[in-house]
């Protein structure tokens, strides 16, 4: 493991979490016993073996951030960045603080993204994972800041950066500041560009709007899970603006692959292998420009 000196400013403190083979019972809440796609019953232990995909029809269930980390990182330690960072209701939006308190209680998360350092197949990487349960994985100031820092740590330490996206878009309760996170995260990708650090994105169900139209579409390689909803405008926005009728589950990852906006659609069982391959084929020269 790299020695993380304190001299550079992007990692202020790290919170260590064990990443084990055994799942953490407290973190798993997505337990469903019948597949929403084919309606057939699924045993809980079977779900675990298939990484929460339906053994009958391969429907991919949404993962919590910690389940995703467990299925991606090697066994050992996940060193989380800025674990206590919190939003401050900058607009004084009514009901927002109550909503945050309830969702924190329910999910055990502070915000809609968990980011930190871990190993994937023996290589150090920066990993940021969004969690759709936290106000629809929406991007406010904290999500934007954490994604930006993940990229800047990658640039600082010259490590690959992997982001798992899952989001309903901008956090409306933070108004214009949430819109600005789109620009902030897009600008931050330039740091990786300048330092020649690889940036891989995995789009999971669903990745939409402000997140899709910023850092999620800027990876050097962009992967998506099968059946992941990916769209710029939600059905309600479309109906409200142009009176065009769009189905709720349109368009999915296959549509974007077909139109040339994705590098590959990868089933969950192959994801770690493909990511490992990408990391291996993108060695970062230490001590290059910068």
């Amino acid at each position: 493991m790299i020695e993380f000196g304190k001299q550079k400013g992007w990692i202020r403190y790290l919170t260590e979490h064990p990443v084990g083979r055994k799942r953490d019972e407290r973190l798993f809440i997505d337990e469903k016993h019948s597949c929403p796609s084919c309606q057939r019953p699924i045993a809980a232990e079977e779900m675990e073996k298939t990484l929460y995909t339906c053994p009958h029809c391969t429907h991919h269930f949404r993962l919590t951030a910690w389940e995703r980390i467990r299925s991606t990182a090697d066994e050992g330690v996940f060193q989380e960045f800025a674990a206590d960072m919190e939003t401050m209701n900058p607009l004084g939006f009514p009901g927002y603080e109550e909503k945050l308190a309830a969702i924190r209680q329910k999910t055990g998360l502070k915000e809609a993204v968990v980011s930190g350092l871990c190993k994937v197949n023996g290589t150090d990487v920066v990993l940021a994972v969004m969690d759709f349960r936290f106000i629809g994985g929406s991007m406010g100031s904290v999500v934007g800041e954490k994604i930006m820092r993940a990229m800047l740590v990658g640039a600082e330490k010259r490590l690959p950066v992997i982001v798992f996206a899952a989001s309903g878009g901008a956090r409306m309760q933070e108004g214009i500041l949430s819109l600005m996170q789109m620009a902030k995260t897009a600008v931050a990708t330039q740091a990786l560009e300048k330092r020649r650090c690889p940036y891989f994105v995995v789009l999971t169900d669903p990745t939409t709007a402000g997140v899709l139209a910023s850092f999620a579409m800027l990876g050097d390689v962009i992967l998506a899970e099968p059946g992941a909803l990916m769209r710029f405008a939600g059905a309600r926005v479309v109906a409200g603006t142009i009176r065009e009728k769009v189905p709720d589950n349109f368009p999915l990852s296959a549509f974007h692959l077909d139109r040339g906006f994705l590098d590959a659609v990868v089933p969950r069982k192959d994801l770690k292998r493909i990511l490992s391959f990408l990391i291996r084929t993108h060695p970062v020269a230490q001590g290059g420009r910068g």
């Binding site: 401050m88 009514p94 933070e174 405008a233």
Partner: protein
């Protein structure tokens, strides 16, 4: 109309007082008090929204006509087509070549159908990047003008990658080695607006707004009551004064009384002076400083709490990575 009736009466009275010998000062003071009382945050936010969307409000090409000595519009993204909802070209601003890009709304129904109500498709953003890179090659500053209800949300836009187009436009503008001055002319609607919103100086017209979602959208999605658009306009803190406080914009450009449509020439003169002033400041910076400060400007946007204090300044730390 959209403007405050008390304000209109006050202007009338002031005009009358100037041209007659009747002493109206008492009435004027009374009206001013009444006006202050009517300026609740809710009314004020909604007044800006209505003025920003005023059907006669000057558009990007109106400002181009009024501000530039001369200009030629350039078309097409060289890949798919030309987007009439996002225009651009080369212009002479006070004798100096500049490149401009901006959303273009229509003046009437027919024109609006052609302009798609200022809602750009992916090819519009790709044209903006093409023209901006061309400007960089020839050392011209880039001016962008934001005036859109949002990017086009239909299937055609999804098919051609509207998300990718907006994302990469922001990324490309982050890297342009020439000064970029952004002006919000009217409606600053969501992702479609921020797509051409990355720059060194961010100006906003006095009666424009900038928001993550339209007040109507916020009312129906968050408040679950479409009739509460007025109220949600004030919740969203979308007025130029609020934006200044959040450091989202750098300067508010004054408009003639009643709004830019009352005297488009005066509005254009006011904007031209503001753009020239911004360019004068930016001209003093070398490309390295320009980029470092642009990055720092956007990377520092946001409000959150964290226990540990920052050690080095943001600008200092960014210099290490770019």
């Amino acid at each position: 109309m959209s403007d405050n009736p008390i304000r209109q009466k006050l202007e009338e009275l002031k005009g009358l007082a100037r041209h007659s010998r009747i002493d109206l000062s008492r009435e004027i003071v009374e009206l001013e008090k009444k006006l202050d009382a009517s300026l609740t945050p809710e009314n004020e936010a909604w007044r800006r929204v209505e003025l920003a969307r005023h059907p006669e409000r000057p558009t990007t090409l109106d400002y181009a006509q009024a501000m530039f000595d001369d200009f030629v519009e350039l078309h097409g993204d060289r890949t798919f087509s030309d987007d009439p909802a996002l225009v651009g070209g080369i212009a002479l601003l006070a004798g100096r070549p500049v490149t401009f890009v901006g959303h273009q709304k229509g003046k009437n129904m027919k024109d609006n159908l052609k302009r798609n109500f200022g809602m750009a498709h992916p090819e519009g953003y790709r044209k903006a990047v093409r023209l901006a890179r061309q400007a960089e090659k020839f050392g011209r500053p880039v001016l962008t003008f934001i005036d859109t209800p949002g990017a086009f949300p239909g299937v055609a836009a999804e098919e051609r990658g509207i998300s990718q187009a907006i994302a990469s436009t922001m990324k490309e503008f982050a890297d342009l080695e020439v000064p970029v001055v952004v002006t919000v002319l009217g409606e600053g609607g969501s992702g479609g607006a921020i797509g051409i919103g990355v720059g060194d100086a961010i100006l906003i017209m006095e009666n424009a707004f900038y928001s993550v979602i339209s007040p109507e959208g916020c009312a129906s999605i968050l408040l679950r009551d479409p009739s509460k658009a007025r109220y949600s306009a004030s919740l969203l803190k979308l007025t130029p004064e609020c934006l200044l406080e959040f450091h989202v914009v750098d300067r508010i450009v004054r408009e003639p009384a009643g709004g830019a449509h009352v005297d488009p020439a005066a509005a254009a003169a006011s904007l031209k002076a503001a753009i020239l002033a911004a360019l004068e400041e930016l001209d003093k910076k070398n490309p390295e400083t320009l980029l470092a400060e642009r990055h720092a400007k956007f990377l520092s946007l946001g409000v959150f709490s964290e226990q540990e204090p920052q050690r080095k300044s943001l600008l200092q730390r960014l210099r290490d990575y770019f």
